[in-house]
Amino acid sequence: MENLDHPRDYDDIPGTYVFDGRRLRAGYALNMFCKSLDLASNREAFSSDALAYLAEFDLTPEQHNAVVARDWIGMLQLGGNIYYTFKLAIFDGLSMQHVGAAMSREPMTVEDFREMMSRGGRPIQGNRSRKEH
C-alpha cells in the first residue's frame, strides 16, 4: 500500500485543492470551526468576540491568521474545504462570487467575476493541466 502522501494524478489540475485524506487531516480544526457557524448561538458568540471564539478551536497559527485575514485561498491551502470555509463567507454576508473573485490568481472584483460567469464562465481551455501553464 502506498503512503497516503504519494503524489496523485489530480495534483496536476491547476488551481484545485482536492479534499482527500491529506487535506482532511491538515484542515480538520479549521473546517470544524467553520462548521460551528451553522448554529445561530455560535454565530452570535463569534460576532461578539471573534478571537475568544477562535481560541476554542485548535487552529494552527497559520490557519488562525488566514481566518482573521479572510484569506480565502490561504484557508484552502491550509486544509480548508470550500463547503466549510463558505460558512464563514455566509457569516460575513458574502456570496460565492465574492469568494470566487478573491481566490482568483489574477486580481478580480466581484463584478469582474460575475461578468466572467455571464460570458460562460472560466474557460476549460488552458485550465486542464499545470502543463498548459
Binding site: 489540475i13 462548521k35 445561530a40
Partner: protein, 280 residues
C-alpha cells in the same frame, strides 16, 4: 405493485432556492432559467408521484468531517430543512415514507449486498430542497412523500460513477418488489460543470456538459467508466457530483424517452442542466 413513473436530473444550486424564496425568479438574470425549468412542474402534476427519492449530497450540513457515509438513506418520519448559515429555507418539512424506506434498505442490503447507511434523524439542505422547489414551486406542503438519499461527493474518495449506477439498479429492484400500489419518481441532482474553490473557481465546460446530457440518455454505461480525475479536471472539483445523475439513470429502464432537456449558463457559479426522463 409500486411503479417508477420517471426520473429528473437537475442541478441543485443554492442561489436557485434563494431566488425562489425571495421572489426573484422573474429578475433578468434568472428569468431564462426559470422559464427553462417550468416543464418540470407540469410533468410532476401529470406524473402524480406518491413518493420522490431525491439523490443528492449533503453539503457539510447533516454530516461533517466526523462522519462521512458514502450512501445514506433517510428512513425517518420527517426531515426538516437545515440552517445553512442564514436561517433554514422557508420551505415545508419533508414527510418521509418509513415503510417504503425500510423496504428499500432491506432489499438493498439483503438482496443486492448494497450496505447503505440508515439515517433516522436528519435535516436536508439545499441539495434536496432546491430540486423540490423546481419540481413543485412554493406549496404549503410538498405534494408527496420524500426519501432523501445522500451520496458523498465532497470527501475524496467518492464512490465511482459505476457504483452510483449500480446503486440505481438496486433501487429499481427494490421498487419492483414493493407490494404497495404507489407511484415513485427519482431525482438525480447536482452538477453540471462548476468549481467553487481555488484559483480555477468559476470553471464551466459546456462541451463536457452536453456530452453528459447526450449520453445519460443514450449510453449511460460509457459514463459509468469515467474516473474521478477526468471528472475533477473536466467538470470541476464540485462538478464531479454529476455522478449522482447515474443513480437516477440506473433506476430507469435501459431505454428511456427524454421529455424535456434544458441547459443554461450560468446559475450563480454553475452550469445548470435539467433532463426529464420516462421509461420507454
Amino acid at each position: 405493485m409500486a411503479t417508477l413513473v420517471g426520473g429528473i436530473c437537475t442541478s441543485h444550486v443554492p442561489a436557485i432556492g434563494a431566488a425562489v424564496d425571495h421572489n426573484r425568479t422573474g429578475d433578468p438574470n434568472w428569468k431564462a432559467l426559470f422559464e427553462g425549468v417550468r416543464p418540470a412542474q407540469d410533468w410532476m402534476r401529470e406524473a402524480r408521484p406518491d413518493v420522490v427519492i431525491v439523490v443528492y449530497n449533503d453539503h457539510a450540513s447533516r454530516f461533517d468531517l466526523n462522519l462521512t457515509p458514502t450512501f445514506a438513506l433517510g428512513v425517518g418520519e420527517f426531515f426538516m430543512p437545515h440552517d445553512e448559515g442564514h436561517g433554514a429555507r422557508p420551505v415545508p418539512a419533508c414527510k418521509g415514507d418509513p415503510e417504503f424506506a425500510w423496504h428499500l434498505v432491506e432489499s438493498m442490503v439483503l438482496r443486492d449486498e448494497f450496505d447503505i447507511t440508515m439515517v433516522n434523524n436528519m435535516t436536508v439542505d439545499h441539495g434536496c430542497t432546491v430540486p423540490l422547489s423546481l419540481a413543485f414551486g412554493q406549496p404549503g406542503q410538498w405534494p408527496c412523500r420524500v426519501i432523501p438519499l445522500c451520496v458523498n461527493v465532497i470527501q475524496y474518495p467518492q464512490p465511482t460513477a459505476n457504483r452510483c449506477y449500480r446503486l440505481g439498479q438496486a433501487i429499481r429492484r427494490a421498487i419492483d418488489s414493493y407490494g404497495q400500489d404507489i407511484r415513485i419518481a427519482i431525482f438525480g441532482t447536482g452538477g453540471m460543470s462548476h468549481q467553487l474553490q481555488g484559483e480555477r473557481a468559476g470553471l464551466i465546460n459546456a462541451d463536457y456538459d452536453r456530452m453528459w446530457l447526450d449520453r445519460i440518455v443514450t449510453d449511460p454505461l460509457a459514463l459509468t467508466r469515467i474516473g474521478h480525475t477526468e471528472l475533477l479536471r473536466e467538470a470541476g472539483s464540485e462538478g464531479l457530483e454529476i455522478i449522482m445523475w447515474l443513480v437516477m439513470r440506473g433506476a430507469m429502464n435501459e431505454t428511456v424517452r427524454p421529455v424535456h432537456r434544458f441547459y443554461h449558463v450560468p446559475a450563480s457559479n454553475t452550469a445548470y442542466g435539467m433532463l426529464i426522463l420516462e421509461n420507454a
